[in-house]
Symmetry: C2
Subunit: 203 residues, 2 copies
């Protein structure tokens, strides 16, 4: 595509590097910014640079945070449970349910040999240290990873590493989603939900 | 939604001001940037600020340009035709067809009473000046506006203003798109394409 201005072309090239944004959308966004006040573009640009340069990861739980000691240390949470997740959005999703009051541990990815990500590339070592620390009060680790090949591999690896610690290892329930229709559920989910059926408690 | 970091929250708020981008997509983009090199975010931010602050509009044709005199003045184009479009992407789309070799005039919008945009808010006055200039060689104005209520109103307004100039006023052909299937065409397009049928020339 031929652009009427070098500035537009550069902006379109930069914007379209973002995932899920093609050249046409990038051009639409660039033209949108041109029609807004200059302050709006400045605010957007500054917030992006600030985000990238000032964001830190908590030393303990690896959640994205404004400092290296996130609020996890000072929160009134149950010190007996750690919920292991892949990334920060998972923490936010679980927090939003208001059903969990323990601590988190963000792996920052999952084991994926195809992408060259092994156990040492993600925060597994620090999880083991956290759990095996003599001062630790942890007695349960919840593996809340996506039910993909990579997620399952990671869960299996962590469970094996924690086997000798005597800590209870759980995983989030798999099954038919609430409101989901049986006939549209995939075979594997439906099959596992029958094998792993639960006592009906009326809830 | 509760964010683990103020920086993330600010970035998500800024990104989600862009059209068609909600909070979830904004969060995904912010986390993507966090995983890339810091230079990438800097490059994106700089290109946006540069775009907004340095972009100019050509004094003559109002195309977005790097300076106030765009290449339109120096191009070897047919000075007899001006194609009137709503905005810069339309110029790019028509350029890409390689079927047009005249000049352009970008209105920068269309007349829309609902949004408070009247004839004086868009570049109609400068079009009339351009056409009525004694040195002008223009003998045809093509109205290439979208076939919406606003586009039609704008075309009607410009045509009325140019009526006494004796200049030929044309509009881009409306009809069934090439490769389009008759049975899926909307009634109005199909109806107009019958009323405005053309002599078959085998092309």
């Amino acid at each position: 595509m031929e652009y009427p201005s070098k500035l537009i072309e550069e902006a379109v090239n930069e914007i379209s590097k973002l995932p899920g944004i093609g050249k046409k959308t990038a051009l639409r966004l660039a033209l949108y910014l041109l029609k807004q006040e200059a302050d709006e573009t400045k605010g957007l640009a500054e917030s992006l640079v600030n985000l990238r340069e000032k964001t830190r990861y908590c030393r303990i739980c690896h959640i994205i945070s404004d400092s290296e000691d996130c609020t996890c240390a000072s929160m009134h949470r149950d010190p007996a449970i750690i919920c292991v997740v892949e990334d920060t959005p998972d923490v936010m999703a679980i927090q939003n349910t208001a059903q969990y009051n323990g601590y988190f541990h963000v792996l920052g990815g999952v084991i994926s040999p195809l992408e060259g990500i092994g156990p040492n590339e993600i925060n597994i070592e620090s999880l083991l240290k956290r759990v095996n620390n003599p001062d630790s009060q942890v007695n349960e680790v919840i593996l809340a990873l996506s039910p993909t090949m990579e997620g399952d591999t990671t869960a299996f690896y962590i469970a094996k590493k924690l086997k000798d610690s005597g800590i209870k290892i759980t995983t989030i329930a798999r099954g038919i989603p609430i409101g989901g229709e049986l006939e549209y559920a995939d075979e594997i989910t439906l099959g596992r939900s029958i094998v792993q059926r639960m006592i009906y408690d009326g809830k």
